[in-house]
Symmetry: C2
Amino acid sequence: MSRFPFQRLQSELAELIARTPPGGRLPSEPELAKLLGVSRATLREAMRTFETQGLIRRRQGSGTYVVGRVSVFESGLEVLESLETLARRMGLSLRVSDLVVERVFANQELADIFASPLAMPLTRVRRVMWTEERPVAYLVDMLPEEVLKAEQLPDDFGGSVLDFLLDRGDPLTVARAAISAIGAPPDVAKALQIQRGDVLLHFTSRLYDTSGRVVDYALSYFIPGYFHFHVVRRVVANSR
Amino acid sequence: MSRFPFQRLQSELAELIARTPPGGRLPSEPELAKLLGVSRATLREAMRTFETQGLIRRRQGSGTYVVGRVSVFESGLEVLESLETLARRMGLSLRVSDLVVERVFANQELADIFASPLAMPLTRVRRVMWTEERPVAYLVDMLPEEVLKAEQLPDDFGGSVLDFLLDRGDPLTVARAAISAIGAPPDVAKALQIQRGDVLLHFTSRLYDTSGRVVDYALSYFIPGYFHFHVVRRVVANSR
DNA sequence: TATTCACAAGTTGTCAGACAAATTCTCGCG
DNA sequence: CGCGAGAATTTGTCTGACAACTTGTGAATA
């Protein structure tokens, strides 16, 4: 539960929308506002965010309707959430194995990414995520030691660096993820118990805080078919 | 000039944001509202849409700031644009080959996607996109014949069904793309001149119009490394 | 001089209430 | 049964207000 009305609103609305069948109508704005304990103006701002994402559609005089979506089991990429959170929403449970937290030093590439000097100390967190006795993802996070020291990770670390930073209250804003497909490199193949060169979905993410600094550089490797990532793409109007 | 205040507002705001250098501050809300001739409530709703898209950041007590737009506009997946348009912006030129436009009939899967009866006639457009003597993408679009008949495609068809529909003025709204990685199926491998099983990035897209109907179901296969797809992910608080 | 603290001014966040505009429903009337 | 006028409902927009937060200023202090 968040401290700020707007964020709480967003998650409650997201839940409500997820519960409503495609094409279904949401309660009217005055009703919803009362139900959620906010003013209509604030409610409308929250609704706009979902409209921007294409999840709902509003028709003056008629109501607000949930747009047909493929499945609740899919994750929209425009919202950054941890695999754990995603899995919980899907009714799955994720397990962590082969957790390795180590201290490394920035090479040229990493120094560029973090806009830091060469050899800056970093904390690298590697682990394999399992669901139902099967490895499905291999995750590597790298963070400046000023942001995260190895000792700070709790013993019951669930596998999500993002959740840890959020719970700690870090002022995170957005992440930028590059999406590609690759054949499994040897170390990843070994961790995921697949063959070298097998197909993997690959994200390379930079997580930013409010000051625009990169606080986490993450490499994610997913075995296709276990997680369904999708994105809503806006059609831009003709410029005139 | 649009008929509706909100749409006019959006384009004027978009312009203002585009004019403001990254990190720059926008005028205060009361000022902007007066300047644009709307109430502060309406203005805030419009601002929310840009905040959702990661273009601006608001800080209570301080102001509203423009986020570095390079990261967002470069080739973000949140905006749907044709490969042609994208390639032109990246300074590449795309060529089309092996264009096949044919009439097919919906099987059960396609009928579900289009919410249509079985065996509904569809127009299927397949082609290979080349850049610099090398095939880089294989695209398949399927549209109800009511939306697009084979004869309607011009002789100089550039390879983008999306551009064609937009130029024609179709009321398109959003597309949903599912992202995954696959090994090349035989037919795709042949078209792209690669080996069966080679790694491909794969999008499955549904394009919607204003009535919420699926007007285009598209399969896209990309050879990794030629197009850089990325997405901006908003951080939201945990819901627990 | 340098530092700290209180405070005022400015900005975003939220609220309540009102009316306009569009849609949908109801019901009387032919 | 069909149709149209009007009522009811719902989203769109506006106004004014206050709360919460940030920032700069300047006086008081070490």
